[in-house]
Symmetry: D2
Subunit: 324 residues, 4 copies
């Protein structure tokens, strides 16, 4: 069943993903449906059952979310419409009345563990960790009495009838997760001047210098890379594709020319969208869906503005016409 008003997200309820989704203004008027996995959330978009899905793509401590990266690079094409940055801080959720000294077992999503490891070693050195399928699922298991405490977002406490014994737990400063709202391919959002463009590149053949060549396609047009991750293509050890974010919008001339250069040079390029860069805000939710903050180009190479491209094209036309 098609639904233009349904958004899926990586569930269950009470996850950081849901918290991120609720920072979007339109979330208030959408039906928000938790899904058991990233592939399930995205398949609902592919099939038309949902208009879009919010899934995590990158964590500043744990790195890329491979399920999301791989889903976006294979199968029926999807596109990133926008991004949400959320500061990640955990609460230690317990059944009401539990004291810190009562806690023998703790749980949480495997991704949460390295983000709370130091806190655990300092505060609950003897507690045994067991992973759960999600932070929210861990909360459920605490409520059911299987574990004494769960790391989850503070917002999950109410949902599961728990209370936050400790809040603001995060080993790393600046822990953030970046989420993307993914839909079917569409005309990209309008250029804001502080945009991000995502793509996946496959090597034409497995020649050793390919990555260097791809980076030069960006560099020679003055397009800055923001993120690059290699992912296996599944064709055997040592065969990679590259998931990349660069500064700028597909309608920026320098970005457009770099993309065309990559299209010519790579075996395949999949355009995953141009969208406003988000910055972690200072709102109550700790999230911001569209970014004033990280706006400007980080390093301007001379001769790469739209005006420079237009002037060069005019000059070329004059040369070709004998009017230079």
């Amino acid at each position: 069943m098609r639904s233009a008003t349904r958004y899926t997200y990586l569930g269950p309820e009470g996850t950081f993903t849901e918290a991120a989704l609720r920072t979007l203004p339109e979330a208030a008027t959408r039906e928000l449906v938790p899904m058991v996995s990233v592939p399930a959330a995205l398949d609902a978009v592919r099939s038309g059952e949902a208009a879009a899905a919010l899934v995590p793509i990158e964590n500043s401590v744990e790195g890329g979310v491979t399920a999301t990266l791989d889903e976006l690079s294979t199968g029926e094409p999807l596109m990133i419409y926008r991004e949400v940055l959320l500061e990640i801080a955990f609460a230690l959720l317990v059944r009401p009345g539990t004291r810190l000294t009562d806690i023998k077992t703790v749980t949480g999503h495997p991704v949460a563990q390295p983000q709370v490891r130091k806190w655990l070693a300092a505060n609950l050195p003897d507690a045994v960790w067991e992973s759960s399928a999600s932070n929210a699922d861990g909360a459920r298991l605490v409520r059911e009495g299987r574990y004494d405490a769960a790391f989850a977002g503070e917002f999950a406490a109410a949902t599961y009838g728990l209370e936050p014994l400790v809040t603001g737990i995060h080993d790393a400063e600046n822990a953030e997760t970046r989420f993307v709202l993914v839909g079917r391919p569409a005309r990209p959002a309008a250029r804001t001047g502080a945009d991000r463009t995502s793509l996946v590149m496959w090597q034409r053949d497995d020649h050793p210098g390919a990555l260097l060549e791809y980076l030069q396609e960006f560099a020679v047009r003055g397009v800055n890379l923001m993120r690059i991750e290699s992912r296996p293509t599944g064709e055997g050890m040592g065969r990679y594709c590259f998931s990349v974010d660069c500064e700028g919008h597909i309608t920026d001339r320098r970005v457009a020319e770099a993309l065309m250069g990559l299209k010519r040079t790579c075996a395949e390029v999949r355009f995953l969208g141009s969208y406003p860069r988000a910055s972690a805000g200072t709102s109550a939710a700790g999230a911001s869906a569209a970014g004033a903050g990280r706006g400007e180009r980080s390093d301007e190479r001379p001769g790469t503005t739209d005006g420079d491209f237009v002037a060069a094209a005019d000059w070329l036309a004059r040369c070709q016409d004998g009017r230079a």
Copy 2:
């Protein structure tokens, strides 16, 4: 307690890691100790309780094992002594007597899921998947009756009193996992002519073209990259270090000069070892610890052999002495 004869590995017993470890000739004379996590296996090496640890570092379908990558790049330095490649094929383990049509629930490590997803869809479309902490742990849960079947290595069946109902399951051709034997820093193994060198590089500052510069340090000396992965430094979104494998040995002149170039260019470089390249063998174990197979340099740039470097150094000395 120090032990020169103890090797730890990512447990529990019955995992592919154990199978990989047992392909090493010296495994027969070592005490093999399963550990609950990669950090635990490596911390035993750091503390001196074990001489080395075998941990997975890369899977041809799932990509890098981030726990291993991150452990190697932070904390007290460790070094890779050698690598083992293991072809990954799953068996569907069941309690004796179980038929395919009896299976309603299946389990396995989350990493196994994408490698058997297509097989499941084709053969057990209605079975419900739940992840377990490891493939071996899944087998244990099947024996305990919690699930009907578990994906694991065929070798795990005997350990857990199960039987392999189906074997050789793998969605992707050429599914392999690369494991590394990690110890305390030591003089690297002798050059074999078919070696791999691993390192981690941190950016001096976050300037956009840094990665391009690092790749040029390799390229200009004709050193081929085999693997590159970006990992977050934990200092905030968009801050990465790069985990890299290149062809060749630290005593190869071209590799040595590239490493020194990176040392000068990067904020920090951590050398993780030079060791023989492994190739997946055709032995019963499906593994090979030292590689004849993938030996030769994949793309020889003229002027980059050791002989070329020696001749150039001789020439330079003659120039400096006025004898050129």
Copy 3:
């Protein structure tokens, strides 16, 4: 006085330049006017007194003809319409009756000297060389009795009433001079598939890596350089501009994009024309004005044909429209 039928050339009569000019089919229907210098020949074009001028631009032994390079890069813009390659072999011209043993003094253009030096050392070791303003002028001075012999083209003998005592003299194998027919800026000749494009580039500022950046603008689009010469800008020691020929035509997409990239990156770019590449023929004249011979691209980088560029532009448009 404007004249569409007048061609100037670097005189005087009897020079290799005149010989090269006469290989052009249209030379038969033009008024051919020798001029005393390259600037004079080109100024006649600038002023409209001549439709075009033939001047030497490069010799395979002596290198670039700096007067021509500098005239093309400064002043009122001109454009190269076509090129002519001429094999250079000298004849030793003497007054009738002179024997080799009679020759005490020889003359010729300074550029001729290094091309006959070995021959002189072997055959006339005691003869004294003095330079003349041109090879033809040397012939005139021999006729007037000032010198005993002159090096010049064999074709000059009749003009000056001399006889060729020895012919086919050239120290270097493959000695050729490339001449260019220069006119006022106009729409370039149609693409032939074996073309040459000439330009001059000035650095935006004198930063050390500028030349590397310019070469990358060519390389990243797979455009091969055929010639590069640095010339002083006249602004002081160490300030250069670069005179460059590349393979291809300004209407080849890869060339067009490279030119635009240079236009954006350089302080200034002067387009000097796209024209068919000539090859030295085997005709009686030893010249060929349009080149079948050196036609094909010398090293094809994948993804750089016009078709590749068009396909990439189509793909970009689809991405921008949400139809990728």
Copy 4:
């Protein structure tokens, strides 16, 4: 006859070359011998008849002196010991009593012509120019009455019994000529911290991207190019070698490594010397043999000091020894 006290120079007496030579302190104690050509001056060094020769190598208006460039790149190896910069300003030399309005014919070396062309057009628009073999030779011809005036250095007036009618003539501001003192190969002069290194590079094969690769050998080590000129190899049109000056001394680590890289990458490299950079001084002579002025590196790439190289080599040794 060998002579350690004889210096040759490009004559005749009264040329700018002699003036440059006389700025060298040791010139006062040497026998200074004018030679008729650059090859003759250098051959005297090769044969041992002279200890060194001073020849022009580059003019800021006219560019490279090809006779010098080609002599240095072929034949028995020579080496540049030092350089001298001389500001070039011409005097118009006439027989005593001659007034400007009397001048119908002027002469001078062909290289002088473009440097005085504008002055001539403005001040003697009707005078006829004829080239002479050297500026000094032109002065001689004026004395003999063949021409009315000669452009030469003011210092040449006395030698030829002429008087300078006008002085300080130069079309271009900052007109300078760089001269080099050339001897047989020897240990280079000690590093001063403001040095120049000269070399010639031949391509291994004629592949289009060779120059780009050579420039990268410099760039990756942070060595700045000061001058690059392509010269034909004499093997046919389109075959070049590259004459290059870079900042720094052969004992600077970054320069040494770049030279070795080029030695490995090029078909051949000829080292032409490391010597102090000169700057045009304000002395009466207008010359300065050793340069304080243009001293510092023009653009410091991080990680390329000698200290950085030493630290990297130490680190490499520790890695190779297992002590990193």
